[in-house]
């Protein structure tokens, strides 16, 4: 019975609003755009941060990544004739880390060498990654064909190489992929598998390094290519000796990440005279990115809230005009026996109907704008169900908050005065 009455009141409210179609339409525009911008902004923000979070998450929240870094002092001392710079992580570092920290589950060393890969007439600059099978467990890159490196490849120092999808396409083209012999430097290595390409981040033009990876057993890399790299850049030749370029350390649980990271740092400090490494913790990055996202959402939310308040004021303005215009009607209803709260209810329902209709139209716009952005600007957007529910709730509250004053004004009218109103 109550809901039946409410439905009747809503119908009556809609009927009254339809009497002034243009006015009702213009009145709701504020809420339409307010809600639309809330959803659109949240969708863009969500899309952008999801991409960032995804990238960090791929690094693994239980991982610690130690990267070799050319020390700063060395770089400035380059002019003073340093023949060879020796820096980076050591083979021993890996062993020490694996053995000293009980929380460490696995480690994956990475040795990077830039070499040209050739297959028949085709060639491609490759980034040779000398590593162990553990790398494929720690960095999730799905296998497309063949197999990844195994313990046997390590033990036998097999001439095996795993390519990325991108690298395989460029080098192998239409030929049967697995089993081909690739010439890298002066060596021949057999393609044993292909892993999925890392999706290029947000339409960047450059081919990311990891696209041209060629994974080979660490010991093979060490024996065939050595630790010394000669770089010929614009006339000057520089020599570097780096044992390991990167090390990925996986700990047992996320709680172990931070203590282990600081433990590793203390240990490396002892064995390295210079700070020629950097420790990054994806978990910390993740937390930071999440905090940034929160801030971003708060800022967007405030802007959206302001636009909704403006929309609400527009509605209130029109409802006050409506109350004045319908003073006589209010007088008639009161004379017939309508109670104050019934008058309040009538006008409040009208305002809420107005703002909820605006909210629904705003959801339409809020779905359309992110679609446009994704389609034409190539930016990822995510419209969450939560933002739809939120904005519908907000538009309803805007109706109640900004409708209550006009409704009270209507109810407070003296029936005798109201009946006399022209």
């Amino acid at each position: 019975m109550r809901t039946l009455r409410l439905a009747r009141n809503v119908r009556l409210g809609i009927k009254n609003l339809l009497l002034h179609k243009l006015r009702s339409f213009l009145t709701t525009l504020g809420v339409v755009f307010g809600v639309g911008s809330v959803i659109a902004m949240l969708a863009v923000g969500e899309g952008a941060s999801k991409e960032a979070l995804e990238r960090i998450r791929k690094l693994g929240s239980q991982n610690i990544i130690i990267t070799a870094m050319k020390p700063v002092e060395e770089e400035s001392a380059q002019n003073v004739m340093v023949f060879m710079s020796i820096y980076g992580l050591l083979y021993d570092d890996e062993m020490r880390i694996a053995e000293s920290f009980p929380a460490v589950e696995r480690t994956a060393p990475v040795k990077l060498i830039r070499k040209e890969g050739r297959l028949g007439a085709r060639s491609l600059d490759l980034r040779i990654v000398g590593t162990t099978p553990a790398w494929f467990d720690l960095v999730q890159r799905p296998l497309i064909a063949g197999r990844v490196l195994t313990a046997r490849d390590m033990a036998e120092k097999g001439d095996a190489v795993v390519l990325t999808e991108y690298g395989a396409r460029r080098l192998l083209a239409t030929q049967a992929t697995i089993g081909q012999w690739l010439r890298i430097g002066g060596n021949y290595l057999q393609v044993i598998g292909i892993v999925k390409s890392e999706s290029a981040a947000g339409g960047s033009m450059q081919t990311p390094d990891q696209e041209i990876d060629a994974y080979i057993p660490l010991d093979v890399a060490r024996e065939r290519f050595g630790d010394v790299f000669i770089q010929a850049t614009s006339g000057t030749r520089s020599m570097e000796q780096v044992e390991l370029h990167q090390m990925i350390v996986e700990v047992r649980s996320t709680e172990d990440v931070e203590p282990t990271a600081s433990g590793i740092e203390a240990m490396l400090k002892r064995f390295h005279k210079k700070t020629d490494y950097r420790i990054s913790v994806p978990l910390a990055l993740l937390r930071q990115a999440e905090a940034t996202k929160r801030t971003f959402n708060i800022v967007l939310g405030s802007i959206a809230a302001i636009s909704l308040v403006v929309g609400g004021i527009g509605i209130m303005n029109i409802m006050l005009a409506t109350v004045t215009e319908r003073t006589r009607e209010i007088g008639i209803r009161r004379a017939i026996g309508a109670k104050r709260r019934q008058i309040i209810g009538q006008f409040l329902i009208e305002t809420v109907v107005l703002s909820v209709c605006g909210g629904l139209a705003g959801i339409g716009i809020g779905l359309f704008i992110p679609w446009l952005i994704s389609r034409f600007a190539g930016m990822p957007t995510i419209v969450s169900a939560y933002s739809l529910v939120l904005s519908l709730g907000i538009s309803m509250s805007v109706g109640i908050v900004f409708g209550i004053y006009p409704a009270l004004r209507a109810a407070r009218l003296d029936p005798i005065e109201a009946l006399r109103h022209e």
């Binding site: 039946l4 026996g337 109670k339």
Partner: protein, 236 residues
């Protein structure tokens, strides 16, 4: 005046009713102690020059306003000091209004206008539509139910207003210059309808300043300066 009439024979009774308005730091006495008993089924005309207190009296009788002092007993219940909600309830259940300017709600159809009191009484749509049809037939407008007030003539609009006033089967029917906006012929038509309702037993109190309209009533109360000047018994 102090006729010991039995309570049941009286629909409404006002005793020493006073109404003082406070306007611009001045007190204006609109009604200065009026005592009248309205018997069941009676038909009263209230006459008097403007400013005599006619409208104030009608507003008090219609529970749109509260007296400054004195008593108003409607169907045995003292309603002189009820709050706004309770007065609304009394209006809803026991009072019917007919106004000079019809006061129909323009955006509602004839049927919806007649149903308005029933809506506030909480009737379900089915039975209130049925009741609206009956009432429209009673005032001769059964073919106009779907029309809006603006599509009706003045006389028809007033008939709708009469039908609406009857919807809640009120104890008293109050009419404020019901023919004021109508031409003489139409006005007399409306008066015949109202008189007919009185024949059927409705208690009617009507404010008018036209003698030939007042002639339809059975009694005529003359007000002057907020007091009862005289009460006439009309012979019809």
């Amino acid at each position: 005046m102090n006729t010991p009439a039995s309570e049941n024979a009286l629909t409404a009774q006002i005793v020493d009713l006073r109404k003082v308005y406070h306007m611009d730091s001045q007190y204006v006495t609109a009604l200065d102690g009026i005592t009248v008993s309205f018997e069941r089924g009676s038909f009263w005309a209230i006459m008097g020059p403007s400013g005599s207190g006619k409208s104030t009296m009608l507003n008090l009788l219609g529970c749109l306003d509260r007296p400054t002092s004195g008593q108003y007993i409607l169907e045995g219940q003292d309603v002189s000091s009820l709050d706004d909600d309770a007065l609304s309830e009394i209006r809803l259940k026991r009072v019917g209004f007919i106004f000079q300017s019809f006061n129909l709600i323009p955006q509602l159809t004839v049927r919806e206008n007649i149903e308005l009191p029933l809506y506030y009484l909480g009737w379900d749509p089915g039975s209130s539509a049925e009741r609206a049809r009956e009432l429209a037939a009673k005032v001769g407008l059964e073919k106009r139910l779907a029309h809006r007030p603006s599509e009706l003539s003045g006389g028809e609009q007033q008939r709708v207003a009469v039908a609406r006033a009857l919807a809640n089967d009120p104890a008293i029917l109050l009419a404020d210059e019901p023919t004021g906006n109508l031409d003489t012929a139409t006005g007399e038509e409306i008066m015949r309808l109202i008189a007919e309702l009185n024949e059927q037993g409705k208690t009617i109190i009507m404010v008018t300043h036209e003698a030939h309209i007042a002639a339809f009533a059975k009694r005529c109360l003359h007000l002057r300066d907020g007091i009862v000047e005289r009460i006439e018994r009309a012979d019809r």
